[in-house]
Structure formats: C-alpha cells, structure tokens
Symmetry: C2
Subunit: 378 residues, 2 copies
Amino acid sequence: MNNTPFRFQLIHRSKKSRARVGRIHTPHGVIDTPSFVAVGTNGSLKALDNVDVTGLGLQLMFCNTYHLMLQPGTEIIKAAGGIHSFINRAGPIITDSGGFQVFSLKYGGVHEELKSKGTKKLSNSIVKITEEGVTFRSYRDGARVVLTPETSIQAQKDIGADIIVSFDELPPYHMPPHKLKESLERTHRWEKRSLDVHLANRNNQALYAVIHGGLDPELRTKSCQYLTGLPFDGFAVGGSLGKTREEMFTLLNYVMPQLPDDKPNHLLGIGDLKSLEHCIPIGIDTFDSSHPTKAARHGLLLTKQGNKRVIASGNASVFRPIEDDCTCYTCQHYTLAYLCHLFKAHEPIALSLATIHNVHFMIHLMADVREKILRDEV
Amino acid sequence: MNNTPFRFQLIHRSKKSRARVGRIHTPHGVIDTPSFVAVGTNGSLKALDNVDVTGLGLQLMFCNTYHLMLQPGTEIIKAAGGIHSFINRAGPIITDSGGFQVFSLKYGGVHEELKSKGTKKLSNSIVKITEEGVTFRSYRDGARVVLTPETSIQAQKDIGADIIVSFDELPPYHMPPHKLKESLERTHRWEKRSLDVHLANRNNQALYAVIHGGLDPELRTKSCQYLTGLPFDGFAVGGSLGKTREEMFTLLNYVMPQLPDDKPNHLLGIGDLKSLEHCIPIGIDTFDSSHPTKAARHGLLLTKQGNKRVIASGNASVFRPIEDDCTCYTCQHYTLAYLCHLFKAHEPIALSLATIHNVHFMIHLMADVREKILRDEV
C-alpha cells in the first residue's frame, strides 16, 4: 500500500457512444477501465491463489463483507493488518456492504425471486428490516447478526479494501410501488449514515454510493440527484435492473448520463459477455461478476469463438490448447484433451486451469475493448 | 525425452545400516534415492498442475494404469505421444500393473481386508482370476475389462512411463498357505509373461518385477530367487507386508538383502514418515504413497515438529507460515491463519496450498536423509 489518494482519471470518451476509458488510482494500484472485476467471495478467487491472480493481471478483486464477517470474522482480518495482508494480494480490492446477501436471505437469489414473481419467501429467512438495519442469522452457526450502516462500514473499515460500498437494501423486482419508494428513502438514509461513518475515518478508502429506485425512472433520477449531491467517491448501480437484458439496457441508458463524469461508476453483479457488450457503450467503468469463474468450474470455457464445453464430443483427443492463439498459462502448458480428461476424472486442478483461462480471457477482452474505445470504434 | 538408457548407480552404502544413496537414470531425468514418489493416479497430483509439480522438484510420479485405462483410455494417451506429453510432465513417471486395483475390487482396501480378517468380499466385485488373467467391470461404465500380463504391459507401453511394473496378483493377508503358494506360482508365471512382452519391445522403458510371498519367508526367498534370476531392471516389494509396521520391518529386513545391489528397488504403497524412518536403513530406494497428498487435502500438514492440523484452536490468528523456516511456495506466500480460513470456507485452493507444502516437505526430507546416509548417520 502507498499513500496514493483515490482518484478517477477520465482518459477518453468515445465519439461513437458513451463508452469511456479511464483509470482509477487506489492505494494498491491502478484499475484501467472499463474493467472486469473478478469475485473472490472469501478472499480467494475459487481455485486460484492470489499470487497467481496478480500474475494474471487482475486489477480489481471483489470480496464479500457478509461472508468475511462470518468467516474468518473482521477481527481476524484487522489483526492481520487488513485484507491485502491477510490474503496476500498486492492489488486493489473492493468489498460490498452485505446488503445483497440480506436480499438473498429474504427472497432467494435474483433469478429465483424473478421466477417466483415475488411470492417466494425463504421459509427459514429470519430477516428483520428496521430503520436501524437488518437482523439475520449466521449461516455458519445460527448466531444473530445485526447489520446496520454503521456496522457494515465498520466491518469494511476493519477489512480495509480500497473501495467500499455504502449499506443499502436491495428491493426485489416485484415490490409494489409504494414499498419501493419507502425502501429507496430508507436506503438513502442508510447511505447517508454510511457516508457519515466513513468520513469520520476515511482510512485511505473510497466509498461508493449505490443508486437505487428499481425500474422506476423517477425514483432512479431521485436517487441519482440525492446521492451525487453527497461527497461519495464513486457510484454503483444496484437494485433490480429488470427481468430482461433489454430492460436493463433501457434503465442504464436512462441512469448513466445522470452520474458525474469525474467519478467512477460500477455495475453490481453483471459480467456476462452479452451484457458487457451493451453496457460498455453506455459508459459503465467496472463490472463484477462470478460468471466467468463459476462457468470455468462447470467446465464452460470462454473463447473468441464463443463458449466451449470442456467435456464435449471429440475434445478427448484435441491435443491442442483451448485456443491456439491464447497466451494464458493453461493454453501455454496443457491441451484441451488433458483438460477434458481432468474434468472427467474429477481432478481438482481442472477447476484451476479452466478458471485461469476464463479470467485471462476476461482481462484481455477488456484490454481490447479499451483499445477500441480509444479508437472510437465502440 | 532423451535416449539415456535406464541405469542404476549405487553411490554410497551407509556404514551404519543397509541404507544406500543412489541415482536412477531414466529417459526423462534422474531420480536421487532414497526418493519419495508422489501418486498422481489420473496423471495429476490432486490439486497441483504438473508444471508446478516439476517446480517442486518431484523426481518420480506414480500413475495408475488401471485408472488411465478406463479414463481417458490408453489409445488417447498413445495418440498424444505418451503420458509425458499428454500430461505435460518433463520428469520420470512410473506406472503400476493394475494388479493392486484388482485386489481392491475383490477384497476392498488393504485396511478393510485386514479388519474383516479376510471374510469381507465386496458384493459387487465381479472379479474372476484365471491363469490367463483377471476379469473385472469398469467402475466408469460397467464394461467388462480383461487384464492379463500381456494387456497390462501393452497398456503400460501405450502409456509410456519410464518405469513399468509386471502384472501380479496381490493376495490378501488372510489367504491360507496353500492358496498363497498357488498365487505366488501364478504370479511368477504372469511376471515371466510380462517380461517376455516387454523384451519384445523395450520402448526405452524399464520393467520392475514384484517380489511376492506374503509373510512366508520361504515363499519370499523363492520369489527373490526366481525373479532376480530374470533380466528385470528393478524390484518392487509387494503383496501383504503384515498387519503391523513391526511385521513389515521384519519382513523387509529378511527380503532386502536377497535383492541385487546393482538394481533399484521400490516399496509399493508405503510412505508414512514412521515407515520411511525404518525402511530407509533397510535399504529401500523408492517409496510411493498417496499419504502426504491425501493428508494435505484433509488439512493435515507435515512439519518438522510432527503433524499439524490446519483447523485447530488458535490457528485462525497465526499470521506466520505453517513453518517459519519452510521454503515452500505456500509458506513463502501465505500464513497459517489464511490457510485455516480457506479450509474453513471450503475454498478449493486450500487443497493446492496444503498439498504444495506436504510434497515439498517430503522432497526435502528425503534430500536430508540422503545427506545423512552419505555421512553414515543413518
């Protein structure tokens, strides 16, 4: 860590779209945007070690406060000297507020909630939302945990990521309008409280606000107006983004121009290739998604020719890399035939090798996109 | 691969015991003995990639013919140009004959068989032993597989390891004396047939015989006499070695002096620290065991101060390496606290990091032992 203050540098805005190239300076290094942010929930990109992750060129890693609070606990991370030291990562890290996990506990995952049309409530979700915050039970030991703006920010201070996120509620897609309005107003109060705690002890961290308002344009505008009026360091777009990609694109096209040019923005939990293709021209800077790493562990490889299943007819004797011109460690050292064998034999290293390829793919895809934006081709 | 013929070089015999230091030259490099041989059943040390394994300094890797025949199949490995090319390993490899797995199918594992006092037969073991060989069903697809000296050696030729092992039966501890004698005689005929197939096409490979005879000294002597009279390149000690370590030490003290000085020997399936400590002074050259790698995956670390559980009281805040003076990748980059967290969070990389430490430990332990033998301290 150095004493570089957090700073966003807008390098170029495309002449063809709202796509932009920038650079986020953090105490642990720079993030060239647009950037893919890999998810390392527990302080580890599943199946990769952090030295290798740095070697892959990953500039920003996303860790989950909720999970880290429950295991190993923030006291341990603080005692270790912070998350970078605890997990041995030299590069920038962002943590979330825990709000997303509260939503998941209450309604199940985003997809489940959408499918159930809002009728599904998890039977064992012991979640209480009050003005103060949220109460839930630890999935580890059943202990009662209270998460408030103050405790979430304090947890994120103890963890010590470069970028932290203010505490919010993630209302489901099917929330009735008056409830959504109530939720937004409470979220704004929570975010303001988050900011107050943060400003009392900056700790060389940057705090992002989360823009809410669901699919309601008026509420989204209200959220942008309120939150951009406060001294947050950046803005994440959260909450329900719609049932389809088209709804999301429409919403983002509406929201993004309302965010200031001189601060970075982040799209929470979106990182599939189709979405990236459309969201980058709308001006998104960073995207976090567990899709590329999760897909890898399920034997789905990202390639310039589209997705490729490791276990597929014919692959058993493809004595060439996944992609001939790929420069990743996996493609430089192993064949698709061997990878296919490792997956079939349930060898744990298969997960690592596939993950390396997919993360490398995402990093290089984003580097290419940045070049294209600089040439006004995106 | 180079054209180095297989050769054993006896460097020093201790003045204190029968312990010896030697060097086995193979087409893919040397093996300094005594040496720990890590097990990579499916062509992968579980949770490690083969480039890293070479980096760790592992000189000999043990792969299982039985598993490789069923997945990916020997045709695939042959088509890849052999096992070294298929799995991208530059160093020496040894394969077994498949005999051990036949035994496991029929009687369960060694420990199960010992515990059941020979009464246990696996209900679905469809194993038929005839003069020709052994018939069993693939655990993968139920297909009927016939393993004979000829098919085992041919499979090992297709796989292409540096050292291969002749086809044998592994009679259980509780076999009645007349059955054991019958089994030994059949095994000798199988080993002779293995040798004949091998000599017809050496393929720059070395063939080890397997000394059998259970716990019967007369049968063991008979086996040594018969097999050392044939032009095998080395000798493995197999079959039942007794119920206790003491029985094994007594047996090995009796058997080892009956093997020729100018050829390497191997102890099959033994590699725990206690056994190594006693077997090295008896003159064993190489030991294969999945113990150090399996222990690692179960969170048991090998250290100079004895075994250490990763998940243990207090470890969560040990912000030091597993061992302060350990030079392994894991100890150089991560703390015991982080490793403990990764195990508790069920992160797959935990298995890799623990395995690296244990394999490194074994390799360095053996290097130290070689130094001690050279100084006549063992």
